[in-house]
């Protein structure tokens, strides 16, 4: 190791530490806020308070916590799994089996990705209501399963998937779906990990569409309910921040669990 490399190492630590501090501070503030009274939060008190349990009690008394977290979890888990399955298949398909027609189709899909959802919301709602699906979990989940965003991601990531692996598998007599399941899936584990984090977060935080298709309070998600608390004339910020901390935990846990997939060089281990 040369002198330059030695000098660079501390610099990397310093820069990462600064970035980490800047990144964590608002999260820290959110957590600290959950322990303070609303009036103190408004005036910007930065230190831990003694109102954590009071805030928790208010939160549990104000909203049906078990219900909204169950709704959120069901929508996020089922929605994410279906999205990952359907969209990764498509991303793999578009990249591995290229044809002129499918390339055109893919280019068109990318364009459609840029249409703001607000422009599609009303007709989509008409369809869902004509199918008598309003106020169901299916109404929230179905339109998002084929995610152009995730298809695009898998297609781009698949470009790093070594063709020789597939060819070897074909020589061994594996069928195409077997190659996808037994070769591609394990090799692309880190890609799936990233996509899971992203998709779960998107489903968990989804706002406008669930708001439009869900009618009754017992069907609504944590994101919807907690966000509505802020519109009170005198919002109880302590209670709200407690709720937001709680609502952040699932995504954070998913991230904690899956970030391990970014450690080992997986491709090497397969070879």
């Amino acid at each position: 190791m040369n002198a330059l490399a030695l000098a660079r190492r501390p610099l990397v630590y310093v820069l990462l530490s600064v970035a980490a501090f800047v990144s964590v501070f608002p999260f820290y503030w959110m957590v600290v806020g959950a322990t303070n009274k609303s009036a103190d939060i408004v005036t910007g008190k930065p230190s831990l308070g003694d109102s954590l349990f009071a805030n928790a009690a208010t939160f549990f008394a104000t909203v049906d916590v078990a219900r909204i977290f169950w709704n959120s979890a069901l929508i996020a888990v089922v929605g994410s799994l279906l999205t990952l399955a359907v969209s990764s298949l498509a991303g793999y398909g578009f990249e591995m089996f290229r044809s002129r027609f499918r390339e055109r189709l893919f280019a068109l899909m990318l364009l459609l990705l840029s249409i703001p959802f607000a422009a599609l919301m009303v007709p989509l709602f008409v369809m869902i209501s004509q199918a008598h699906l309003t106020n169901t979990y299916a109404a929230v989940i179905l339109p998002g399963i084929a995610s152009i965003f995730i298809i695009f991601y898998f297609r781009q990531a698949t470009k790093a998937f070594p063709a020789e692996l597939r060819d070897a598998a074909r020589v061994d007599g594996l069928k195409e779906w077997q190659i996808f399941l037994y070769i591609y899936l394990p090799v692309m584990r880190s890609t799936y990990a990233a996509a899971t984090i992203i998709v779960f977060m998107a489903n968990w935080n989804n706002y406008l569409w669930p708001l439009i298709v869900l009618n009754t309070a017992d069907m609504k998600t944590a994101t919807l309910i907690i966000s509505a608390l802020t519109s009170a004339y005198t919002p109880d910020y302590g209670m709200i921040l407690f709720g937001t901390v709680l609502a952040t935990l699932p995504t954070l846990i998913i991230f904690f669990l899956l970030q391990r997939q970014f450690v080992e060089g997986l491709l090497g281990s397969v070879k």
Binding site: F97, A119, L120, A146, E176, A194, T251, G265, G268
Partner: protein, 296 residues
Amino acid sequence: MAQAKLGRSEQVTGWAFVAPALVLLGIFMIYPIIWSLWMSFQVGKGMNLSFGGWANIIRLTKDPVFIRALVNTCIFFVVQVPIMIVLALLFAVALNDPKLRFRGLFRTAIFLPCVTSLIAYSTLFKSMFATDGVVNNALIWLHVVSGPIPWLQDPFWAKVLIILAITWRWTGYNMIFYLAALQNIDRSIYEAARIDGIPAWARFTGITIPMLKPVILFTTIISTIGTLQLFDEVNNITIGGPSDATLTLSLYIYNLTFKFMPSFGYSATVSWVIVVIVAILSFLQFLIARDRRPAA
């Protein structure tokens, strides 16, 4: 790199892999897209709509608020997307070093902004960047500035603040894609390069960047679209102000649909402007990517 012609059975397999997604997209997108295209030719308010031909497009060219929103949106993505992509890439590469200590900690920290609730972070950003907030106090204390910066009151600084806010929130998000992609690069390539005495920077530009190109293209397009559809930050931190300095196309669409007397036709037209911009940009990006494709 001539594309090998696919056999009949491969064609069938190819369709089979993409079929579930295509069927779902067909069901859930074709009708809404046709509806929204049709709407973009309708004029009128609320339920009183009539066919207006090109009226909405003519209205666009004469609408100073639309022009302001368009210019702001373009400034945001031209300035912000490159900064964020470069930062995310640097963080990912630094955090991919197996010898680095506290990697998990740093990774989680840098990822935290995108899970921090919008309520918490917009409230905090407003208070931190207030005239007498911590940021101004720190800058004055460090003698970077002589008086407080009007972050939320001045059109220029409000734009800077929004750029800071979205960079803060989405850099860690983009980093995830790079971290995942870096795992798919064969470590032995780096080992070989290191043994050959190729310096770190050259390894970064010569190996990492080319290997990550598909994912860089992906994050660039996604971030561009994300910035073109920028809504949360401007709606929660600056409400598009001061003087519409941070009004974006998406916020304008929202206003036209929900805040103002609803004009769905016109708001659909503004939505399609975003599609047209993305069409042009994607075309350019693909062109550039194609020109630089290595002769592999």
